[in-house]
Point group: C2
Chain length 540, copies 2
């Protein structure tokens, strides 16, 4: 495959552009972003959900503080639990809810009710004013997350911000910063100030750096200080592996791939070293008390997720899931928003059980899954092995899909890998939206298919998930401008073009003034004479 | 994504090689090919199904005639219906059945019974002696087909043979030559003489060339002459669009994308031009009579398959499928083998209906589907949109999956596209085998996952569907030879390596002499003291 890689990262093809729809709300005008695609044919134009944020040509100078004036009055009122969940329960529709509702094309009240019930979250730290609010819940569009972050081995701050921009340009709805190397604070700061999407982290990584990498030295005080530092910066959700309980660790001993979650293995080792219960579990209340002050959402981590087909749906995985359900209720008591992390490697026939159990055990809190990868045999192509599982579990009800890049299991993703991962997951998420019958989801497919049938090549490219690649592939075989309005393409050539033949058939039917229904009613035998009168010229 | 593209096409990494297992059958020794992967760890070695054929460094000189001495006695006996179906019904196990049974790891008698029942086919023209026999049926491994072929616009003979070799190297089980340009006969001859896998064609393309591209001039005589020419050359299966009936054509008038099958649109136009029934349908007996003499299998074409989500599972598609069921019975009367073509574009929630209807209407003849693509919005990535649908329909029971390349809808695939398409479909087929619980399918995943957990990098690469790409991706971040035996990798670095931590946990458990079961039985409270005695050294 020869994906073009040298094009400028933020250039947009000319036939589509960002538009802001004005939404009046509580005396303000909210400016809600979409990507508008102008079409030569029906429906003329189409507005697509857009997560790319304000245009910023490769810079790291920071985005405008969209939410600052929404948040200010809440701080002045000294709301002690300024979470979207608390407002929703109190019957209050926030600016964030109204904004996100407009993006989804639903009512603000519907959004409020879903958040109040815990079925959706709106991750939005009060210290992340640059955020364009969005929703994670199974009654909304399926979202995708892209992981970025440096490690001890590679990457730098500029590159991480570029990856963030690259990821949101192609459609990432949230981004997790998984940095573990040096400059972890400064990297996160640069990412947050430039991010229009919620940023998630796994705070145990930084906490471990702070104790010199000695797992047994980890403790709740250092951990809470780390949470506070990250919450102050504006992190929107924290992965917290509070469900890795001491008694679950032996359940992993017989696994083919043991514990593959980094956070999970750190906590498991801590539990055994001290032979005490996971301090994230025993101090969960204190963690909630801190997070509610900033409205940081929980992403309750699946530290015992399966790392191979052999380990899927085992006792360890489901034991932890049950505990995550218990912790969900605890977090909700504090007014903190919660989503639940899941899968890893799961064969197709075992995927649905994951969704069913998660809904039942976790009280319908949104599910957020990595893949799952449906086979272990394709390193180098795990964006594909996992897009298969992701599409299926998204259809079954998962609210957000954590992407996997082609480098999974092999190395750290570069920008091209981020692009490949994001596109594969946009495919999975949209396929799931269509299969769920999400209102309006299929309009996008239909618009593209109509463009394809009409040979409106430019419309087809522009409606593509990746217009640049679609255009480049087409131009490899038929580069001439004229070919883009030609009524055939390089696959069949003019003679064999099935679309052109069908067009002729339709034109014929139209010339006869026959609707499909009439054609059937009048009967084919009677039509024969008409067809013959119309003559052969049509069928050259 | 930076897939390496300049490596030599037929070079094999050193740690795996082709082996031939000797199978005694009827006084002969059959040499059955596998790819044997030697492993540093358990299980020591693993033999994988291998469709790549005798090694042939980029040549077009032709393969050995493996089947010549099997076929000769049948011709001497003047068998009038020398089809695998006829032999199977007569209780005869052929060399081909024994060979294919050994590849699948099942008994010859089981293979014979499946073929006799029409639930599997063994496509093997008596004029294609170079063929290594294989099976298509839902009780066997899911197979994949790769399409190649030149058009009026691009490609030449050498390049088509190179694509064939490239496709089978990565795992294509059959190849369809869809050439429509000049040199159609010579291109096909070169492909057949160099192909270890069954070759399929769509003879209507060549028949149309013979009448100067004038669809209305097509007729049964020219068509039968074309079939004879191709059957004599050794084509193993023909796509025949005999189910596109005159009365079904109006059913497509209201579609978003009309008729997208090239063959389907040609026949539809013929039907309307003449206002007569499809001549492939009315002369089906004559076609069967010809095909049975060579043992060419039917691939009954789905001329009315949906070309967009909007058209999925509509009246036209299922009307044709019903007719294909009727034709299946007709072909079986003649002793001709049959499979049924299906899908195109189908959203996930409508996939199963396709499989269920096909099994019921077509009497369990093997299903052979293109994709299906589960969304229309990703031109440039349709190997992924369709691998999702292909994996699912394979799990539901489809016997062979026709690949889609990244160039689908945009241009003609080059070698890199063929590779990308084949790998995506090997993923889908293997994921389906695992989900179906196919005996032994998961052993491959487990072997790779064990290698991954043990940091046996070379074993992991070699077990990959595409070892070269896996190795190249790994080496981008950690190129040193030493890194391939390192007990960590570039994703997490040594400190955070969850696999290494789990290894330590296991070592600890082993040092304690505790099995998982014992650990649970003795209770965690009692173990506490032991853990503390074992000391902190383990957890540095």
């Amino acid at each position: 495959m020869s994906t073009p890689t040298n094009s400028p990262p933020l250039a947009r093809p000319a036939r589509s552009h960002k538009v802001y729809r004005s939404v009046e709300f509580a005396g303000r005008t909210l400016q809600v972003p979409f990507r508008r695609v102008h079409l030569d044919g029906a429906p003329g134009q189409i507005d697509l959900y857009d997560s790319s944020g304000p245009t910023q040509p490769n810079g790291t100078r920071g985005l405008p503080a969209l939410r600052a004036e929404w948040i200010e009055p809440r701080l002045k009122r000294r709301d002690t639990v300024p979470t979207q969940l608390a407002y929703a329960r109190a019957g209050i529709v926030t600016e964030e809810m109204a904004f996100a509702a407009a993006r989804e094309g639903v009512s603000s009240e519907f959004v409020r009710a879903e958040i109040a019930a815990g079925r959706a979250i709106l991750p939005a730290n009060i210290r992340h004013p640059e955020l364009e609010p969005m929703l994670i819940g199974r009654k909304f569009l399926v979202k995708i997350n892209a992981n970025i972050g440096n490690s001890a081995v590679a990457s730098d701050i500029q590159e991480e911000v570029a990856k963030l921009q690259w990821a949101t340009r192609f459609g990432a709805d949230t981004v997790m910063d998984l940095s573990t190397g040096k400059d972890i604070h400064a990297t996160r700061e640069a990412i947050l100030r430039n991010s229009p999407v919620p940023i998630g982290t796994v705070p145990i990584y930084q906490a471990l750096e702070k104790v010199g990498g000695k797992i047994e030295k980890l403790g709740i005080d250092e951990f809470l200080r780390t949470l506070e530092e990250q919450a102050e910066q504006g992190v929107d959700y924290f992965t917290i592996h509070a469900g890795v309980l001491l008694r679950y660790v032996p359940l992993t001993a017989g696994r083919v791939t043991g514990i593959v979650s980094r956070g999970g293995s750190i906590l498991a080792r801590w539990c055994l070293a001290h032979h005490r219960e996971n301090f994230l579990y025993t101090h969960f209340d204190e963690i909630c008390a801190l997070m509610k002050r900033y409205d940081v959402s929980f992403s309750l981590g699946d530290g015992l997720r399966p790392g191979s087909l052999a380990d899927a749906n085992d006792a360890a995985q489901f034991a932890e899931l049950e505990t995550l359900g218990e912790l969900t209720r605890e977090a909700w008591k504090h007014g903190v928003q919660v989503m639940i992390e899941g899968p890893g490697h799961v064969p197709m026939h075992q995927i649905r059980e994951n969704m069913d159990k998660q809904l039942a055990l976790c009280h319908e809190a949104p599910f957020y899954t990595l893949g799952p990868l449906v086979t272990d045999v394709a390193p180098g192509y795990d964006h594909i092995t996992s897009a298969i599982g992701a599409a299926m579990i998204g259809w079954y009800g998962t609210a957000m899909l954590c992407y996997v890049t082609p480098k999974e299991h092999l190395g750290l993703p570069d920008r091209d890998d981020v692009r490949a991962g994001v596109i594969a997951y946009k495919i999975a998420a949209h396929a799931a939206d269509v299969a769920k019958g999400h209102p309006g989801a299929r309009a996008w497919d239909d618009a593209l298919s109509r463009a394809r049938f009409d040979f409106r090549w430019e419309d087809q490219f522009e409606l593509s998930l990746d217009p640049e690649t679609a255009r480049a592939y087409h131009d490899e075989t038929l580069p001439a401008e004229g070919a883009k309005s030609a009524h055939f393409c390089s696959m069949c050539g003019p003679q064999f073009c099935s679309m052109r033949i069908t067009e002729d058939l339709r034109a014929f039917a139209a010339a006869q003034g026959l609707s499909e229904q009439q054609a059937r009613e009048r009967g084919l035998a009677e039509k024969r004479a008409e067809f013959e009168r119309a003559g052969g010229a049509l069928y050259v």
